[in-house]
């Protein structure tokens, strides 16, 4: 098990190096001058040239790449030219926000998906299963940001239970402010999760081991939790892992809509302002997040299905 984990950890290194290199090359090849963007349209060419020199942007691309890698090896993510602040301190503020959003949305996804999938698998021809199908069709058809806008409108303005966007100073207020964006992200994942879980559960219900358990006289409840859900959980974990990995793009839009100061909105600001160091750092962190989530998924998979460890 340890060797299996160590091998996967080693495989992550070239993935991260690839992410770092691709983000560096893409940012530097994209048209746009960070110094001009930082100084504004009215700054003189001499001021722009002075700043380009100060930031080392007048050096060749390979030289810039080498000094960037050297800086990374020393644990220095650089300084944001837009925020005029060290990126590590910006990350310290932004990363916990995005992680909270990701974790909360994953929890909400499970809390919504499992009962819905379970109900429609146990009563496939009932009214509830039809309602779940309808719910899935509507939620999957509507873009995530539209769902977000609707949630703001009804739960933020009409009923006014949650704030209509923003991120208050108090910890309790912040937790409360994360519910709507997390729910929005979760609702984007729920239809896929419900479909996957329902299919896996339906297959489990029709399997020989469930028939055997029933023939032994076991009640439905332990059969559902100990046999069906455990086996269906394998596909659930895979889907959740992929969806959490895709959150980088989801957070980018949702954080903008809900005015949540996380990594997504910071990445967006960085891209628009050609803040090379900031974009590269955000890409690196998102890359690391994806790798960690996939590792966690593999671990959970191995825990749920011993055959995965053998392979």
């Amino acid at each position: 098990m340890l060797r299996w984990f160590a091998r996967r950890l080693l495989l992550a290194i070239p993935v991260i190096w690839g992410v770092v290199t691709i983000s560096f090359v893409m940012m530097h090849l994209a048209p746009g001058d960070p110094a001009r963007t930082a100084l504004g349209e009215k700054a003189s060419d001499a001021s722009v040239a002075a700043l380009r020199h100060q930031w080392g942007l007048d050096q060749s691309l390979p030289l810039q790449y080498v000094s960037y890698l050297r800086q990374l090896v020393h644990g220095d993510l650089g300084t944001s030219v837009y925020y005029h602040a060290p990126i590590t301190s910006l990350m310290a503020q932004r990363l916990p926000v995005t992680l909270s959003l990701v974790v909360l949305s994953a929890i909400l996804t499970m809390l919504i998906s499992v009962p819905l999938a379970s109900r429609s698998a146990t009563h496939p021809n009932g009214l509830a299963a039809l309602a779940v199908r309808l719910f899935n069709a509507i939620v999957q058809g509507a873009p995530t940001f539209f769902i977000g806008a609707m949630l703001i409108l009804f739960l933020g303005v009409r009923v006014a239970i949650f704030p209509a966007g923003g991120y208050p100073a108090s910890i309790g207020g912040r937790a409360w402010a994360l519910v709507l964006p997390a729910l929005t992200i979760a609702l984007g994942t729920v239809p896929i999760m419900v479909r996957g879980l329902r299919a896996a559960m339906t297959e489990s219900y029709g399997s020989e081991y469930v028939a055997f358990a029933r023939s032994k006289g076991l009640p439905e409840r332990p059969i559902r939790y100990r046999y069906v859900l455990r086996n269906a959980g394998i596909s659930g974990v895979s889907i959740l892992g992929i969806q959490v990995g895709a959150l980088a793009s989801g957070a980018l839009v949702i954080e903008q809509v809900f005015a949540i100061p996380g990594m997504g909105s910071m990445l967006m600001t960085g891209i628009l302002n050609r803040d090379y160091a900031l974009v590269q750092a955000c890409t690196l962190v998102f890359g690391l997040l994806v790798v960690v989530v996939y590792l966690g998924t593999d671990l959970a998979y191995a825990r749920l299905d011993p055959r995965a460890r053998l392979s």
């Binding site: 994209a30 048209p31 746009g32 001058d33 960070p34 001009r36 963007t37 930082a38 100084l39 504004g40 349209e41 009215k42 700054a43 003189s44 001499a46 001021s47 002075a50 700043l51 100060q54 837009y82 925020y83 005029h84 602040a85 910006l90 503020q93 932004r94 873009p143 940001f145 539209f146 806008a149 609707m150 703001i152 409108l153 933020g156 303005v157 009409r158 006014a160 704030p163 209509a164 966007g165 923003g166 991120y167 100073a169 980018l252 839009v253 903008q256 809509v257 809900f258 005015a259 100061p261 996380g262 909105s265 910071m266 967006m268 600001t269 891209i271 628009l272 302002n273 050609r274």
Partner: protein, 515 residues
């Protein structure tokens, strides 16, 4: 980026539905009795980037800096002249080569230190450094003398009439000498000024709070206890936050939402005169825009009134002269070029491309307004035989392309940072003023002479005559088309006394919450 643009478009649609629905609800009162104290929350699209006066160029920073620091002079409400602030009086020497400012004696920084001429000298010198974006404003100053703590003398390279207005620029805000013993970055993290509010806290990406400066030299103000600026990038979210009383002021609601906002009895939508001018630039360095008849034909063919209605919902007026009506140098006799397809065809027939040509218009990605505007221009120009292809670049790339002269036609906007017309006359009117005549590449030595004459002359009527000539030359040669004079738009709830100046200053010391 394309995906993001599509998302934004769809979100705008979703939120229009949302706003229409919210228009039926809401609570609170739009008018009421002003009260003292309270925390005003203003939601803005962008976050401040730095509170060190010599560093930022973005309005989100500038308009907070103006609340924390004082400048020697301050723009008046109309944006046409300046008033005393830290300086109580100023005068130009008889040889016109220096300006003497007398300082207010009861002004103190929020750390208790008195404001002196040494602080003024240090502050202006920070903005003269080559990497300061607004250093070009102060390059005319050759030397700063401080004969006593209450007197500052600025020596200039040449007679320089705009200096009192230059001193109202945010980048010339007065900070304590040597940043009160701190490094620039330490000071930027905990800034100290002598303005009506003092810095309290800043949660990057989320909110910035300033609190009342109880020792402010202008007695009786500010009325508010504090102001919190929150960052809410999406205009629809800002609108819903206002509808749910989560915020009191929404900065720059989208044009499409204004009708819905106006329909809500509890909210006020106000349009303040601003110096913003939106334009369409043509690259005269490239054929066929090197031909003035081509440029004139384009101007005649564009139905500006239709664009104003469709894209700006009629919030603004058609532009004539390139200097805004908010400046005293505006020439009202220059009228917008009327939309006339027949005249445009006739003008094009006289040009080097009588039967039309193909060209591109470069627009900023993510801007639905720019996209709509470009499509309308495309339709208008097709009627006279000009085929326009729309090219999309993100904001940073478009700025680089314009500075490099690597485009055919492009939209843009400009605002002035000082109340004197000098800055914008040079920026938008001359080749060496920073933008190569608004990126058009149009060169005319007469424009340089007129700008120099205007800035050196102490006589305002002589200056006005020079600026009038500059506006006429641009109107005659059309290197770019001034399209619209655009107001500053705010929607707000229980607030009184909120009247931003044409330069954008909020003047929050005059603002009160209402009951």
């Amino acid at each position: 980026m394309k995906r993001f643009k599509t998302l934004c478009g769809a979100l705008a649609l979703a939120s229009t539905v949302a706003l229409t629905l919210t228009a039926c609800g809401g609570s609170g009162t739009g008018s009421g009795v002003p009260q003292s104290g309270g925390d005003l929350v203003m939601a803005r699209a962008d976050e401040a980037t730095s509170l060190l006066p010599s560093v930022p160029t973005d309005n989100a920073s500038i308009w907070v800096i103006e609340e924390i620091y004082d400048t020697l002079t301050v723009p008046d409400q109309s944006g046409k002249s300046v008033q005393p602030s830290l300086a109580t009086s100023w005068s130009q020497s008889s040889d016109k080569l220096s300006w003497t400012f007398k300082l207010r004696k009861n002004a103190k920084f929020t750390n208790g230190q008195a404001v002196t001429s040494a602080d003024v000298k240090f502050s202006i010198e920070q903005n003269q450094k080559s990497d300061a974006p607004f250093s070009f404003i102060d390059t005319v100053i050759t030397k700063i003398d401080t004969p006593d703590p209450a007197t500052v003398v600025f020596h200039t390279k040449k007679p320089w009439s705009p200096l009192p207005a230059d001193m109202a620029l945010y980048a010339n805000s007065i900070v304590p000498k040597d940043y009160a013993g701190k490094s620039a970055s330490q000071f930027a993290a905990h800034p100290i000024g002598s303005g009506p509010f003092k810095f309290a806290s800043w949660s990057k990406g989320s909110s910035l709070k300033i609190v009342k400066n109880t020792g402010y030299w202008r007695k009786g103000t500010p009325h508010l206890d504090s102001v919190t600026f929150t960052t809410v990038p999406d205009s629809n979210t800002r609108a819903t936050q206002l509808a749910s009383n989560q915020i009191q002021i929404n900065e720059y609601p989208s044009n499409s939402s204004i009708k819905s906002l106006k329909a809500q009895p509890n909210l006020t939508v106000s349009m303040f005169p601003s110096s913003e001018i939106d334009y369409l630039s043509m690259n005269v360095r490239r054929a066929p825009f090197d031909d003035v008849d081509v440029r004139k034909a384009v101007s005649q063919a564009i139905d500006k009134k239709a664009i104003l209605k469709a894209v700006y919902y009629d919030h603004g007026t058609l532009a004539g002269g390139f200097l805004s009506p908010t400046t005293w140098a505006h020439d009202a006799s220059i009228k917008p070029v009327p939309h006339d397809v027949a005249a445009a065809k006739a003008t094009l027939a006289k040009s080097s491309h009588p039967h039309g040509f193909s060209t591109t218009i470069t627009i900023s990605s993510g801007s639905q307004d720019a996209s709509s505007e470009a499509q309308l221009v495309q339709g208008d120009l097709a009627k006279i035989g000009i085929k326009v292809k729309i090219k999309t670049l993100d904001p940073s790339a478009i700025s680089t392309a314009k500075h490099a002269g690597n485009y055919d036609m492009a939209f843009g906007l400009y605002t002035t940072d000082i109340v004197d017309p000098d800055e914008i006359a040079r920026f938008a009117g001359t080749y060496d003023g920073g933008s190569n005549t608004l990126y058009s590449g149009y060169k005319n030595s007469k424009m340089d002479t007129l700008a120099a004459t205007a800035s050196s002359s102490p006589d305002q009527s002589a200056r006005k005559a020079a600026y009038d000539q500059m506006q006429q030359i641009i109107a005659d040669n059309v290197p770019y088309i001034p399209l619209f004079y655009v107001p500053g738009i705010y929607s707000y709830g229980k607030v009184s006394g909120f009247h931003p100046a044409a330069t954008g200053n909020y003047f929050l010391e005059k603002v009160q919450l209402t009951k």
